[in-house]
Symmetry: C2
Subunit: 204 residues, 2 copies
């Protein structure tokens, strides 16, 4: 059975958990309290030298990090990742966009404000940069969802799982979704998928 | 024939150019001067709403952005991306690591200092953050290269192409490679691959 090392309120962890659940794959979730330094131990670095969750561990002990790589590995061959080369490229384009343009801004603002307990004043200029770049990423997503029900080929895929994770809790980082009607209706479509499970937002 | 919209000194553009060359695929390179706002025009946004290079354009006008997605799309089925599911996951882990932990620090410091002409003083606290995080990413890469000639399965792949692009010019951003002997010897191994082409570092 797979092991998933996760920080429960992390969207990157949640993406993997949602996909595993929708694939019907049993897994053992192992919480890692990153605020208590549990991802900075020799044992954790042996599993991921980059010291980040999530990590997927196979039965033979091999480990895979980076949520993008884990999603791709798990979804390949399933209904959550198309077979067509161009559609696969478009899914990966969305996964890369999320990790470069959305997550470092939307998720980072959320983490420091809601989980690490920093004030807006303490974050200062950095928060301003995250807010501007994160708002631009959300606006792009909203525009893309104006012409399609799901991000790639109108079919629910790991692109939707990936973008959903931090977008649907963007308000935790101070981002408003009120004027992003396309995102709001897509969030409801994602939530209505079979075997959907919600994200843990309070922990421990 | 493929069109590649690129900013010539960009490592993200160079990755694609190096792969296309090593695949023996002819392409038309179309320079985009991002410092002159050429990636902020309606025509450019129509090709990539995120306003970023590189973009790969097919003969029928379809466009793909995000260097990770472009590399994957082009390399799939070639010697530069393994067939085995686990090895593919490891390649994607490296591509995701590069875009999340290395490029936003090593490439960003290089861009602002060398191409946008900012001083260290102007960049201030941001430069300090890039330097610390970039140095950590380079140290991780050096350690990984201590036990293998190339990043995945000891075979040259898009993981090496991707990590090589900004690592081999990291000194432009103020990062020292002097104590990273594994990186230095790997750089020479990458340079000795068939059909290797160097990166453009002065432009126009």
């Amino acid at each position: 059975m797979y092991k998933l090392y996760e920080y429960p309120p992390s969207g990157n962890s949640y993406k993997v958990k949602l996909l595993l659940t929708q694939l019907g794959r049993p897994f053992e979730a192992i919480p890692v309290d990153i605020l208590k330094g549990e991802s900075r131990t020799p044992e954790f670095y042996a599993k991921n030298p980059n010291g980040r969750i999530p990590i997927l561990e196979l039965d033979d002990g091999r480990t895979l990090s980076e949520s993008t790589a884990i999603l791709w590995f798990l979804a390949d061959g399933s209904q959550f990742l198309p077979d067509d080369a161009w559609l696969r490229a478009k899914v990966l384009q969305w996964l890369a966009f999320e990790q470069y343009s959305l997550e470092p801004n939307v998720a980072t603002a959320r983490f420091w404000l809601k989980y690490a307990g920093k004030s807006q004043e303490e974050l200062g200029e950095r928060l301003k940069i995250w807010r501007e770049a994160g708002a631009a990423a959300l606006a792009l997503l909203d525009e893309a969802l104006g012409t399609t029900r799901f991000l790639v080929n109108d079919q629910y895929s790991i692109a939707d799982i990936c973008l959903f994770a931090y977008t649907h809790v963007a308000e935790d980082g101070g981002f408003s979704l009120l004027h992003h009607a396309n995102i709001l209706s897509w969030i409801e479509r994602v939530r209505s998928q079979s075997d959907f499970v919600p994200m843990v937002t309070r922990w421990p």
